[in-house]
């Protein structure tokens, strides 16, 4: 089962290697990982998407907790949370397809952020499912290049997680 886990870590040298190494060393899956400093510059927040059965996910959580640099972990699976990912998509834009690309963009509330005579670069934000959907629709036009950020998540409701 797919799990989205937020990990609050010390913003220190080598922390990313510790986390990535833990996943590879113990054979855990890592689907995506995004990381950036928080409001408190001594902390970083990671969002990790992983998958495995209950026993493996329990180990993932415990092993992450065991790292000295890990301060807090939230497994959002089963919680009510907002999940957003951004994609930049460079797609062929021929005379015949330009209008269609713009229409698709509009439907997905995407933006064209770069234009050349032969291609558009589209920026889109949404849940991974939504990003998958726009990619599927743009694929027939010919996608020249694609980059996805991997999802970041936040719990719904007024409650904030200390160490934002």
């Amino acid at each position: 089962m797919r799990h989205t886990i937020s990990v609050l870590v010390e913003n220190e040298f080598g922390v990313l290697t510790r986390i990535a190494g833990l996943f590879s060393g113990r054979g855990f899956n890592i689907e995506s990982l995004s990381v950036a400093p928080t409001l408190d510059p001594t902390l970083s927040r990671m969002t990790i998407v992983t998958s495995g059965d209950d026993r493996i996910i329990e180990q993932v959580n415990k092993q992450l907790n065991k790292l000295i640099d890990t301060i807090k972990i939230i497994d959002f699976t089963g919680e009510d949370f907002i999940e957003r990912e951004m994609a930049l998509i460079k797609v062929n834009a021929e005379d015949s397809t330009r209008a269609e690309i713009l229409r698709i963009c509009d439907i997905f509330r995407g933006k064209v952020v770069d234009v050349t005579p032969k291609c558009y670069t589209v920026e889109v934000t949404g849940s991974p499912v939504k990003v998958n959907a726009i990619i599927d629709l743009l694929r027939p036009m010919g996608i020249k290049e694609l980059v996805r950020s991997g999802p970041v998540v936040l719990g719904r409701g007024p409650k904030g997680w200390k160490g934002n």
């Binding site: 870590v9 010390e10 080598g14 190494g21 060393g25 180990q59 790292l67 000295i68 301060i71």
Partner: protein, 565 residues
């Protein structure tokens, strides 16, 4: 007052109570070695960095203190890897200081540069690269704190040469602040109450004890629990010596080379109480059939150990000694229930006694050949009760575990998790450095001994009177045993062929060498070795194709053991 980094390091070590360190000098630690000359810390120069780390490990296991080793950058540091991994697998508190090239050269493939923090990340509890002299004292403080608390383990501090030479005001922090590291010490009282209920209602309980009992010095508490409950005790290799082998409730070791009765007890048990043990594959055999009738209580300080390999009905996270104290207290308040439970355990203890009678630990004695088990028995008989035994890895290690019958805690130092050949001699060196007056004996095979035999020089130089037993079968015996049993006797690369004269080797280093080739010489050689000052090698030419039995073949269930070959 401003101090240099190397002085700050040594001052910090002193403040941590370090009196002995093991190491090897080199270009990027030369400043530290220069300052060592005026320091009160005793330094033991091993002949290889791996041995320095094993010696610090042996020192830590024998004393319970944090062991300290030091090595230079590059090859010096990479030579420590096996020692660090060994300590990590067995949860041994240790701080390893490595030199590093100056910060300005890091990443430039400088002379004797290796990314030690990168290399040791998966085999340390934590590691540090010191990039600012102002962080040094705090990092040393944290390193010792992390090494010795929670589930202990090795911590590496990689210290660049320019940081050793830089100066700053020295203030050793009084407290440690690590917001991401708060190990659970105190066992949850409600969980312990539940455990007591399970213990009192069980008909066939077994206490399964691992290295946690030694690491927390919980021997007295363990004894109290076992005797109060009248529950049999089996230990892992790491738990060996935390419960006296000759105690009526002792089942000896369980697992691959465990006793028949220990493995039968676990297989038939209705409540397995795991105390500071981690269900290693050498213990469980085939996991699906491990303790099939038992509910499992698992006490461990490390939450990741719980439910990693087996299902657990009741987890208790905490320091084993703390948990055992609380269990004993709770049982002390339920005298009537305990008496009833003791009564209920009687048929179980009788069942176990029958298994013990059916297949006791035994071997076929010989009048013509020296049996390795016979040597171990004689060693037990002739050594002091508080003798510290170290082993290498292989058949001799298992024979020692099976036949030595340990009586006192922290007297069996052996590489459990990693299974490191070459561990025993340097570990004995470390233990002897900690306890100059006690008997320290390294039980070795001819294969393992040759992996760190250079440490004979260290023993002689520092007058460390370690007695070395070499059970010489001129084979890599454990692998040969597997080849005999599972590979149709195809002895690929396990015969050492070249016979070494170990007595001459001892003499070359200025130690004493003794040899026995017949059973009747065994006792005399051991007595003579114990009466000889300084390090002694006792070489025993043993029956060459003796096997370690019983044996649970790899991947088989515990009750499918082979009893004799």
């Amino acid at each position: 007052m401003k101090l240099t980094g190397s002085k700050i390091l040594l001052e910090s070590l002193s403040l941590e109570g370090v009196d002995t360190i093991f190491g090897y000098p080199g270009g990027t630690v030369i400043n530290i070695y220069d300052d060592l000359m005026g320091s009160s810390i005793k330094h033991i120069l091993t002949r290889h960095e791996q041995a320095a780390v094993h010696a610090a490990d042996g020192y830590a296991r024998a004393t319970g203190k944090v062991g300290v080793a030091i090595a230079t950058s590059g090859p010096g540091a990479t030579n420590t890897i096996t020692g660090i991994a060994n300590a990590y697998m067995d949860s041994i508190p240790m701080v390893v200081i490595t030199g590093q090239v100056p910060t300005g050269l890091i990443g430039n493939d400088a002379f004797q540069e290796a990314d030690l923090v990168g290399i040791t990340r998966p085999i340390t509890k934590h590691n540090y690269l010191v990039k600012d002299i102002k962080d040094l004292a705090r990092i040393i403080k944290q390193a010792f704190y992390i090494a010795r608390t929670g589930r202990p383990g090795p911590v590496v501090v990689d210290l660049p040469k320019d940081i050793q030479m830089a100066t700053t005001k020295f203030e050793y922090p009084e407290t440690v602040e690590l917001r991401g590291y708060k190990p659970t010490f105190s066992g949850n009282v409600r969980m312990i109450e539940k455990a007591i209920k399970m213990m009192l209602s069980a008909k066939k309980p077994v206490l399964y004890v691992g290295g946690g009992a030694t690491l927390t010095d919980a021997h007295a508490e363990l004894m109290e629990l076992a005797e109060t409950l009248q529950a049999p005790v089996t230990t892992t290799l790491m738990g060996m010596a935390s419960f006296p082998t000759r105690h009526p409730l002792s089942l000896g070791m369980l697992g691959m080379h465990g006793t028949y009765y220990a493995n039968m007890a676990v297989t038939n048990s209705d409540l397995l109480i795991a105390l500071g043990a981690r269900f290693d594959d050498r213990v469980t055999g085939k996991i699906d059939t491990f303790a099939p009738h038992a509910k499992i209580i698992h006490v461990d300080v490390d939450p990741t150990s719980i439910k990693k390999n087996v299902r657990v009905d009741l987890p208790i996270v905490g320091d084993l000694r703390d948990v055992l104290k609380k269990m004993n207290k709770a049982l002390g308040e339920k005298k009537e229930d305990v008496a009833q439970a003791n009564e209920a355990h009687k048929p179980w203890l009788e069942e176990i006694a029958a298994w013990r009678k059916e297949h006791p630990m035994s071997y076929k004695p010989s009048k013509t050949e020296i049996k390795p088990q016979f040597v171990i028995e004689k060693l037990r008989e002739l050594s002091n009760d508080d003798a510290i035994i170290t082993t290498e890895v292989g058949q001799h290690q298992m024979w020692t575990a099976q036949f030595f019958e340990f009586t006192q805690p922290r007297t069996f130092l052996s590489s459990g998790g990693l299974g490191t050949m070459g561990y025993g001699l340097p570990a004995a060196l470390g233990a002897q450095a900690a306890f100059p007056e006690r008997q320290v004996i390294d039980v070795s095979g001819d294969g393992s001994f040759q992996m760190n035999s250079q440490e004979l020089a260290t023993l002689v130089q520092y007058r460390l009177p370690v007695k070395i037993v070499i059970l010489n079968n001129n084979f890599l015996g454990m692998v040969r045993q597997w080849q005999q049993l599972f590979f149709d006797k195809r002895y690929s690369q396990t015969c050492m062929e070249l016979p070494i004269d170990f007595t001459k080797l001892a003499e070359a280093y200025g130690a004493t060498g003794l040899k026995a080739t017949k059973p009747e010489e065994v006792e005399e050689v051991i007595k003579k070795a114990f009466a000889t000052p300084g390090p002694v090698i006792m070489e025993f030419k043993i029956s060459r194709e003796e096997n370690v039995m019983p044996m649970v073949p790899s991947g088989a269930a515990l009750n499918e053991m082979v009893l004799a070959s």
